[in-house]
């Protein structure tokens, strides 16, 4: 993450069932993030379709941080942690942006840009919580393993 390559991410596994990522708010980090998450969710036992949903949600959540919390700045920190708890997967995304939670759209208009990310979060996650921090936001998402399979 500290190099000149904006797409580099730092991935560690504090325990076999846990993954931690540090990255910059650069959109080029999304592709390597997806690769790391594909492997983690496969180890956690999710099938191809469910992995696709989880990766899409994490991608959209990170894109929201980049676009809105950091207003497009590409050099800000983001930390992501994921844990396989046995019955579910828990994902925490921490940013140090403007601390504003995205407003849920009441009705998604397919031909109007925006809002699709929140639709995906609500549809594919069992539980989502935006927790304002003193200096940013933590988004916690939980996806039960037995849902939608």
């Amino acid at each position: 993450m500290t190099g000149t390559n904006p797409s580099s991410i730092e991935v560690t596994h504090p325990a076999p069932n846990r993954m931690h990522m540090k990255m910059l708010s650069h959109p080029a980090t999304l592709a390597p993030m997806r690769v790391a998450f594909e492997a983690f969710t496969e180890r956690a036992g999710f099938n191809h379709a469910d992995r696709g949903q989880i990766i899409l949600v994490v991608n959209e959540a990170l894109a929201n941080v980049m676009r809105h919390a950091y207003n497009g700045a590409t050099d800000k920190p983001i930390e992501l942690s994921a844990e396989d708890t046995g019955d579910s997967i828990r994902i925490d995304i921490r940013d140090w942006g403007n601390g504003k939670a995205p407003q849920p759209s009441h009705k998604h208009d397919p031909e109007t840009p925006g809002g699709l990310g929140m639709v995906c979060l609500k549809q594919f996650m069992t539980q989502i919580t935006f927790k304002p921090e003193r200096d940013g936001m933590t988004l916690t998402m939980i996806r039960n393993k037995r849902e939608m399979q």
Partner: protein, 119 residues
């Protein structure tokens, strides 16, 4: 038949046959590279003024909401010319996203390029 010259790495080929433009898209599309795809698609529509734009997504394993926004903007642009966009050869994850975005009914979705061209 005319070859169009896309600038984005995502558009692996593009050709015009009469009022139909057929483009093959390749790779994952996200917030990082969707602006390049937007440039290419809007350029194609502006330069070729097609009545039908067929996008073969067979080599697109993943796309996110930024890609959806590009497709919708392209659709709105081509509609002004009386045209339509067809999406073909969808992979499961892309098909799933189009369904949740409720765009599968707004675009023409077909299994193959040939079906899209014949419609």
């Amino acid at each position: 038949m005319t070859d169009l010259k896309p600038t984005s790495d995502l558009v692996s080929s593009a050709r015009q046959d009469g009022t139909v433009v057929i483009a093959a898209i390749r790779g994952e599309i996200d917030l990082h590279n969707s602006p390049g795809l937007r440039t290419d698609l809007l350029d194609m529509i502006t330069k070729a003024s097609p009545k039908k734009l067929v996008l073969n997504l067979g080599d697109v394993p993943y796309m996110d909401s930024s890609a959806i926004a590009v497709l919708v903007e392209s659709l709105q642009r081509i509609r002004k010319l009386g045209g339509k966009i067809f999406l073909t050869n969808l992979q499961p994850r892309v098909k799933g996203l189009l369904e949740i975005a409720r765009l599968d009914a707004i675009f023409g979705v077909t299994a193959t390029e040939a079906e899209a061209i014949a419609k």
